[in-house]
């Protein structure tokens, strides 16, 4: 799916630019974006390595174990098939909590570690390119946005002279709750379908 999408994005951009006579702008956009992505990568390299280091300190001191236990009931509800001693359980809990607190740069490395552990410990070894139900749920919940307080947007709003930058906290909380609820319901339905063996993985 991503292969088609990516190809389509590149080709649409170039053909559209050519048809409208701004091919130079497209070339410039392409080069500039690749350059910017490396700059972004460098920023991520610094911040994410730092968070990984801090998380490892917490991990080896036993804090992460404690946190995973605390998040247990929520994890059991979201991922009923995941064994208590699954190696992905810890990073998944850390990812969820970091997301709720709005620490995106700490959430990403934990999320990547979680998926790696899920991939290495999957039941069906045959088709390693297909996402498992747990992976799907994990990703959809992640994308549904879990952040409680949108600190970045609040800061931008006050920069632009908002009379009440905090006015969005309540609405954002409700909207985040709605999108996460929709995600959970959707994943539960898909889980039920594939348990009945009706769902045939597409593509």
């Amino acid at each position: 799916m991503l292969n088609y999408l990516w190809g389509l994005m590149i080709l649409t951009g170039i053909f559209w630019g050519a048809a409208n006579g701004n091919l130079d702008a497209v070339t410039k956009g392409l080069i500039d974006s690749s350059k910017e992505s490396v700059e972004l990568g460098l920023v991520m390299l610094g911040i994410m390595s730092f968070w990984c280091g801090i998380l490892e300190v917490g991990n080896r001191a036993g804090l992460v174990d404690w946190l995973t236990k605390k998040a247990g009931p929520m994890m059991d509800f979201l991922y009923p098939g995941l064994p208590k001693d699954h190696p992905a359980r810890q990073p998944m809990a850390v990812n969820m909590i970091a997301n709720i607190l709005g620490l995106g740069m700490a959430a990403t490395p934990a999320g990547l570690a979680a998926l790696k552990a899920l991939q290495q410990n999957r039941d069906e070894e045959k088709d390693r390119q297909t996402a498992t139900n747990t992976m799907c749920t994990f990703l959809i919940i992640n994308i549904s946005s879990l952040q409680l307080v949108p600190i970045n947007m609040i800061a931008y709003r006050s920069q632009f002279g908002s009379s009440n930058p905090m006015a969005i906290v309540g609405p954002a909380l409700i909207a985040t709750f709605c999108s996460t609820l929709a995600a959970v319901i959707f994943c539960k339905i898909m889980d039920m379908k594939s348990r009945r063996g009706k769902a045939v993985p597409k593509k």
């Binding site: 974006s33 280091g53 300190v57 632009f160 002279g161 609405p171 954002a172 909207a175």
Partner: protein, 170 residues
């Protein structure tokens, strides 16, 4: 108050973890280095995905296709009460966080952060994620190509988030 809590959160968590490590008699700097080394490997691993995706987004944006798409989508968007100035934001939100932030700030500048559009943009940015970016980075890292129902599920959650944002802003 809430803003203060949010601002204190990161320093609090870091000092709590490091303090806890020292009290548990751990070699905290060695532990930190081991984790940071892993983190560097992780970022290096996702860098190709990042470059490919952002280059594709940059191409699409520079070609003017997104602007045209926004014009095409004006009528269907009005059926679901999506104001036309928010269409580019909603589209770009799916692929790039920084580009979407740029568009949100543009809306703040043009209509004011306390206007209906300003509040709707703020809430949309707060209750949605970069769908395609997340899927590429996460699944790319473990070479998953068959993503099954992730995209429909993620788009559904995003659509619900956007719908709720517009209702709540109005």
């Amino acid at each position: 108050m809430m803003e203060w809590i949010s601002r204190m959160l990161t320093p609090f968590i870091i000092s709590y973890i490091v303090g806890f490590g020292i009290l548990s008699d751990r070699p905290v700097f060695d532990d930190f280095l081991a984790g940071a080394r892993e983190g560097m490997k992780t970022v290096a691993g996702i860098l190709p995905t990042l470059i490919g995706l952002l280059a594709a987004v940059g191409t699409l944006r520079a070609s003017g296709f997104l602007d045209t798409l926004s014009i095409w989508l004006e009528t269907p968007a009005s059926w679901i009460h999506l104001p036309s100035p928010l269409i580019p934001l909603v589209l770009v939100r799916l692929v790039s966080n920084s580009a979407a932030t740029g568009l949100a700030l543009d809306i703040f500048g043009r209509y004011g952060p306390d206007s209906f559009l300003g509040i709707a943009a703020s809430v949309i940015m707060s209750s949605t994620e970069t769908v395609f970016y997340c899927i590429s980075i996460y699944f790319g890292s473990i070479h998953i190509t068959k993503t099954r129902y992730v995209l429909p599920g993620a788009l559904l959650a995003t659509a619900v988030g956007i719908g709720a944002s517009i209702l709540l802003a109005g």
